[in-house]
Amino acid sequence: MNVAGANLAARLEAVIGAAQVDGELQSCEKYTVDGVVPPVVARPSCAAEVVELVRFAKSERLGVVPCGHRTKLGIGMPPARYELAIDVSGLNQIAYYDPGDLTLSVDAGMGLAQLDAVLRGQNQFLPLAVPFFEDCTVGGTIASGADSALRPSCGSARDFLLGAEFVNGEGAFTKSGGRVVKNVTGYDLHKLLIGSLGTLAVITRLNFRTFPSAPGYGCMVAAFSSAEAVIRFQSMISKSPLAPSTFHILASEAAQSLAEPSGDGGAATPKWFEAGVWHAFVGFQGAPEILDRYSRDLADYAEQSGAKKYLLADETSAKFRRGSLQEMVRNFRESTPAATIFKISTLPVIPADILRLRAIAENRSIPCTFAANAAGPLYFVLQPPTADEDTLTAIADIAAEVFEYGAAHGGQSSILFCPTELKRRINVWGSAAKDSQLMRRVKTAFDPQNIFAPGRFVADI
């Protein structure tokens, strides 16, 4: 720890006590964001301590990055200032849970998997089937806007987040929404926190609507020889009465990366996998007669849309595959040292887009693949084998073209994960969002001194 860091740690100790302040370099390195190491980490144990910390940070104009279990700190741009990490994983209790009302109030630092275990005890769940599920916190999931695999059936977080408590940039403990499933009292400020990357406030507690678990699960995997065919299959289902709980489309390379458990413990090629083709994974749930109906209808649609083959999975396998699909973004990120994941939101995804994007990557000899959650974004993943200068230059060029192509075709593109070195060459948010002027005003309303994660977000926020 350098002198300035030691000094800061000492002053913070006076604010919330020595036990909750850590200025050791080894500890601080764990809170690195894109190569920037904070001199001090604070670990508050209650919302009142968060208030004290933020007031101190405001008075000293420190750059603050709020965090939980730090699984997604790589999203966004490097912080322009970063003197204090506020780790809220000590706020980790369920404050209120009324299973009879299907509502829940939980501290932001609680692990998502721990929360899930409690809910499962009541045959309920929170539809945050997100990557890093076993390791992340509820607050980090909301603040990062992580995309849930269950979005086709349960919507995104904005559809089931009922309210929030947080500490704004003035160091004021504030709240929005409530704990009831229907509520129009005051502004829905909690919706602004979703995907805000800690740039508006330190989230301390979140209120959710929970969902009843289904009695059974099923899954179909179908293989298609072209993007056209798999999109035809998706379109057929969207026009049908079926409402699958999950729906993923994966290009061949992405599908191959999904592991399949085998009875003998070996790494056999999964039965459903076919090289060089597109795969659709459809998850569904319900009572046995409903699972039967899905199985019948999906088989018909697969045949009608020209599937090369399809396979209906049993419940165990279906659950496993759901888990693998949920973690696919994490797996992509960890697949190669310079893996770069674009998130492209466009409606509809058309085969021509995919062909064009693939050409952009292949023109620069960078291997790529695609994956899409039917109700969410299209992930365009670059998987170069190395992370050398030439590769980074090629990725930067690809990014410029992808952003331009997306903007010209009415979509919005950004980079979710990429090597830190790439962020010195490009802005991962692409061109500024159309309403960036309003976003800056909102940021100023929450955080007038610009202490929270400055520079990490869209439009240099």
Binding site: N123, A172, G186, L192, L200, S235, P241, S345
Partner: protein, 477 residues
């Protein structure tokens, strides 16, 4: 209204879409609530550019601007609390785009809610938010208030169905937020704007999701001899993880009034009925129908009827959706309260409402969205009787206070508006108001748009002094 302002408005819009004579303005001093507030002028623009020019003109003359759809709101949201120019969106009523393949529509704010459903039903789609006023209310109004309705239990409220907005800010600038897809980069400004009651911006274009019609629908009418049994049934349905598309409750007093008017087939001698709709795959609806029937009977339902056909379904819903109109036959005015509570507390809440009714000497009816805990107690009163009016207001206030006490909120779907602005401190602290005020000012810094709404007058946005209006005296609810 200053003659120069009227001339300016006529210069922008022509003389016909500008009303300013007192007799023409009378209609616009009301909405569906018990509040009043008369604008100085009412205009009917047809384009976003006209809206922007009107807003700029208002700014030049320091006059507030109030947006209004069909005026069916129930909280005074579309009333001119401090005078000003009222922009009525009735002539911005075009459906601009129907993207059937992607289940999206782009509409102007004056499109009537049900007209959108009619425009897409040929493709097996519909617009899910269905407030009782859906045949007259506008989608712009729905966006402003984040309107709900019976079927929002399964499909969500308006905000769940809006993906992008175009809007005009007080400086006359036109902005777009969100995207057709719904995943827009940056903060979810669309989510913030929906339900902001016209206090942040004037919405001039809306992109909405369209929902596919279900394969099968069953409508059940469960009849009870005791209110407690009906409310226990609702709590049990939720606890048993059954999510109907709609679950509405009507007590005996209310259903008798409705039956006399609509003849929907509600049993006049019952204490309460539940109107439960199940939707989805045929197999799922069959299984849920059996489960609901069993739960109703466990809680001593006298009878569970299933509507035999579409006609019978429509009749039952006609009874539900026109209930407030039916009550109009019994008294000059009715006050529909909009409170929301945890669903597990419905039985105790209904008992408490009955007590409050006895305390204030009113028979309080209940007809509400039971499935999501959204209460609508109704008090009938005569506004010409000042003592009765004050007593009605006091009873309503006590009910809302009770909702908050048991973990609920002030409003589930009608909005805060003028009606509940003074009750906001029951839920929000000074710090909460301070942040809301700063977010308000980020869009509407001088309170030029819809002043005097949402914020309590003593914790507001300076709206009373902004734009040169006299202070407003408001009786606390």
């Amino acid at each position: 209204m200053d003659r120069k302002v009227i001339q300016g408005l006529e210069g922008i819009l022509g003389p016909s879409p500008v009303l300013h004579r007192p007799e023409d303005l009378l209609l616009y001093e009301y909405d569906g609530s018990v509040e009043k507030g008369q604008p100085g002028a009412v205009v009917f623009p047809t384009t976003t550019q006209e809206v922007a020019r009107v807003v700029r003109l208002a700014g030049e003359h320091n006059v507030p601007v109030i947006g209004r759809g069909a005026g069916t709101g129930l909280s005074g949201g579309a009333l001119a609390r401090t005078g000003g120019i009222m922009i009525v969106f009735a002539r911005m009523n075009r459906i601009l785009e129907l993207d059937i393949a992607n289940q999206r529509a782009v509409v102007q704010p004056g499109v009537v809610n049900y007209e959108l459903t009619r425009a897409v039903e040929h493709a097996g789609l519909y617009f899910a938010p269905d407030p009782s006023s859906q045949k007259s209310c506008t989608i712009g109004g729905n966006v402003s208030e984040n309107a709900g309705g019976p079927h929002t239990l399964a499909y969500g409220v308006t905000s769940n169905h809006v993906t992008a907005l175009e809007m005009v800010l007080p400086d006359g600038q036109i902005h777009r937020v969100g995207s057709k897809h719904g995943d827009a980069l940056g903060y979810d400004l669309t989510g913030l704007l929906v339900g902001s009651e016209g206090t942040l911006a004037l919405v001039t274009e809306i992109t909405v999701k369209l929902v596919r019609k279900p394969e099968d629908v069953k409508t059940l009418l469960a009849i009870f001899d005791h209110v407690d049994d009906a409310s226990e049934t609702v709590a049990d349905l939720t606890a048993c993880a059954i999510t109907p598309a709609a679950c509405e409750m009507m007590d005996g007093w209310t259903l008798r009034a409705v039956e006399d008017f609509i003849h929907a087939g509600f049993p006049r001698d019952s204490a309460a009925v539940l109107l439960i709709e199940l939707e989805g795959l045929t197999e799922a609806v069959a299984a849920q129908t059996a489960a609901v029937d069993e739960i109703c009977r466990t809680h001593h339902a006298r009878e569970v009827r299933i509507a035999r056909d579409q006609k019978e379904r429509e009749l039952l819903w006609k009874g539900r959706k026109n209930a407030f109109g039916a009550l109009g036959r019994l008294a000059p005015c009715n006050y529909v309260i909009d409170g929301v509570i945890p669903r597990s507390k419905i039985p105790q809440a209904l008992r408490r409402i009955k007590e409050i009714g006895e305390q204030y000497n009113f028979e309080i009816g209940n007809i509400f969205h039971a499935g999501d805990g959204n209460l609508h107690p109704i008090v009938l009163y005569d506004p010409r009787n000042a003592e009765q009016y004050q007593r009605a207001i006091a009873a309503c206030t006590e009910i809302i206070r009770y909702c908050v006490e048991i973990g609920g909120a002030l409003t589930g779907e009608h909005g805060v508006g003028m009606e509940k602005s003074e009750l906001m401190p029951l839920l929000f602290s000074d710090a909460d108001f301070d942040l809301m005020r700063r977010v308000h000012d980020a869009f509407n810094p001088d309170s030029a748009l819809n002043p005097g709404k949402i914020f309590p007058l003593n914790k507001g946005c300076g709206e009373i002094t902004a734009r040169g209006q006299a202070a407003v005296r408001v009786a606390p609810l």
